[in-house]
Symmetry: C2
Subunit: 408 residues, 2 copies
């Protein structure tokens, strides 16, 4: 028997039935088909409100790579100051809901056509290398448009306890801190519209002390680099890195503690006095817990003492839950039988997807109430890096349905 | 410095330029865009010819999940006896090029609509459970069509050295060998069109002795189960499991040794005398080595002593090459600078994709001739589980182009 992670606290049940935005999980499935991703807009809004309370002086940017579902973007756009994109495709989605001047574009392999689209839209390009800086300036010249340029910095420290380390070492992301000021001076001298710094030290950290320490170091680095350049940065994107609890034993970060310490840091920072704005860029933390993946049991079988619930979904929709994306040790996402919430576990079962591969295991030997063919399995933490971060075409099954649930 | 796997022997170069089906890699890119999957039809045909020579009495089935690119299916269909599919979507693709009676459908989570489509097409349904058997019979009754049913057996042995173990243990795939005869008798008694056995003990094995041993055990199991049932199986699908060399130190299987031993086994088998046909089902072995993923260098950068080639492709097209799909330890696929084949390595570089995630690394610290922005990187072994087994929508980049290269 293996444990699974905690349910996001916002989900409630009525008579054992999982309720999402005021409606039973089975009703969502009946209306939209199975498998289905449901994203609860109220949970996202509540996350944003918690951020506002903890970080009153800081802008909030949404990194749409976490979940670019258009109705979700439309709901979130008025609630955040900026959107961060990672491709020309994402830029198009962002421009549909927000002005180009509050969109920033990061990513190590921006093609010329992508730079052109971003410059035309007036977006901020987070420069990843000296070569990219030269290309952006050249394209700006050719178009006759002043490019909005920021320097993404590969910091000299990294975020401890980070799920993905992105700083303190050789990296395809950003310009090494040692060279960052020189590149900034070059693009300013070339007449670019200087937008400031983007410093991202890691992601998916649940270590509150490490996030506080990293934010302090990021602030100090931004101040030091700005002094080297001799120009005030209009904006410093402090990165994100706020993790969410996926697995047994994970606990949420202490947002208020992080916000409190950052406020102190900002109050003591010369850049604040000079009028620089600061932003935190979040993807996963804003949306992961708002999503549930619902999938129906197609078969129930015993094999040599193990019970399998075979569902109509699988890793082609929720790759990360199968443990095949960015994790070394497979662990179980929070999982439930959607009409038997709160019931005592009756058996150990594995929930496997419909794909004809042993990789397709959504829950491994978990204790659940008994489920029969036709019942609905809910897999939580499906709001980020789910539908778009999975090999949807694998084995030729249909794409999942998605819906933004707006409460009554 | 880390090693990378061997180039498939069929690829040649002219003046250092990688040639695919008589044409330079850069010409393929110029004609079809970058990134691009090129599949060389002649290499697939050569693999099939080698199979024929080694297994003269055995049918060959292609498991289209490995690569369902329609022009490739069209080219392969006349060269194989059967196609194996894993969803109703794949069934549609298979029916476009082959008759329903030579298509078989395996997969643990077949929905009612999928069973209905397979029964209507006259395809063989490889039953994964007693529950699925009951559903298939019921749907056949309802449609007034006799369903073609085989029993997929979860064998009591497994394929040693197999990349993915699929037998000898509790499994979502197939009916435990202990129960298989009973289910076969039930479906025969219910009037189904009895098609035989499907026994698949593992995949991606490079251990010739283990494959020989497993085929022997599979044959013995099929004979024993058939005796228990008391009916001759028209077809026994012996599975596949033939691996291809992806990584440094991997060596190809000895096909002739396997074929020779299987011929002896078949000659001594009662089922052969009774007229049973035998099939081997291959996916990866037929197509993996025929494919090359070509992607252009967008940026070249140094960071703290490491050199990165940033390309316009990435794990959204070739997830497995990034080490994030079904592998625990990340190792390098064979990789080359496409116009400097055979040149001496000059530097250690990492080839990273354009996605804004540290997971997107296509080659980790490999020794290559120097490549500049605009040059083309070739990643071999891209013919199986590439384009369709990758999260194409991740980060909103365009889908890759694909082309079937037919030699001049």
């Amino acid at each position: 028997m293996k444990p699974f992670g905690p349910f996001p606290p916002e989900f409630v049940d009525q008579n054992g039935e999982l309720i999402i935005a005021g409606q039973a999980a089975s009703d969502w499935l009946a209306a939209h088909g199975s498998p289905l991703f449901v994203y609860d807009a109220a949970i996202v809004a509540a996350r944003i409100a918690r951020f506002r309370a903890a970080f009153p002086q800081v802008d909030l940017h949404y990194a749409i790579k976490a979940n670019p579902y258009p109705p979700l973007l439309e709901a979130m756009a008025p609630l955040v100051e900026g959107l961060d994109v990672a491709s020309a495709g994402e830029l198009v989605r962002a421009l549909a809901v927000k002005g180009g001047d509050v969109i920033s574009f990061a990513g190590p392999g921006k093609r010329d056509a992508e730079l052109e689209a971003a410059i035309t839209a007036g977006a901020t390009i987070n420069l990843e290398s000296a070569g990219e800086a030269a290309r952006a300036l050249e394209i700006g010249d050719r178009l006759g448009v002043t490019p909005g340029l920021a320097v993404r910095v590969n910091p000299d420290m990294e975020l401890r306890g980070s799920g993905m380390k992105m700083g303190g070492r050789p990296s395809p992301f950003g310009i090494d801190a040692e060279q960052a000021a020189a590149v900034a001076r070059q693009v300013i001298a070339a007449g670019a519209d200087w937008r400031g710094w983007h410093i991202f030290a890691g992601s998916q950290s649940l270590d509150t002390a490490a996030i506080i320490e990293t934010q302090g170091a990021t602030l100090a680095l931004a101040a030091r680099l700005s002094e080297e350049v001799g120009w005030m940065p209009p904006l410093v994107n402090l990165g994100g890195g706020f993790g969410v609890p996926y697995f047994a034993g994970d606990t949420p970060i202490d947002l208020d503690a992080i916000g409190g310490r950052l406020s102190e840091g900002l109050a003591a920072c010369d850049l604040t006095v000079a009028g620089t704005r600061f932003a935190i860029e979040l993807g996963r933390w804003l949306v992961a817990e708002a999503g549930v993946y619902l999938t129906r049991v197609v078969d129930r079988k015993e094999s040599r003492g193990e019970t399998f619930l075979v569902v109509d979904g699988g890793l082609h929709h929720q790759l990360a839950a199968s443990g095949n994306f960015g994790t070394v040790v497979r662990r179980n996402y929070p999982v439930a039988v959607a009409h038997r919430m709160g019931a005592a576990p009756e058996e150990a079962v594995s929930v496997v997807g419909c794909l004809c591969t042993p990789l397709d295991r959504l829950a491994d030997r978990v204790a659940l109430p008994r489920a029969e063919v036709g019942d609905v399995i809910a897999i939580f933490l499906a709001g980020a890096y789910g539908a778009t971060a999975s090999p949807a075409a694998f084995l030729g099954h249909p794409a999942p349905a998605e819906v933004l649930a707006v409460g009554s």
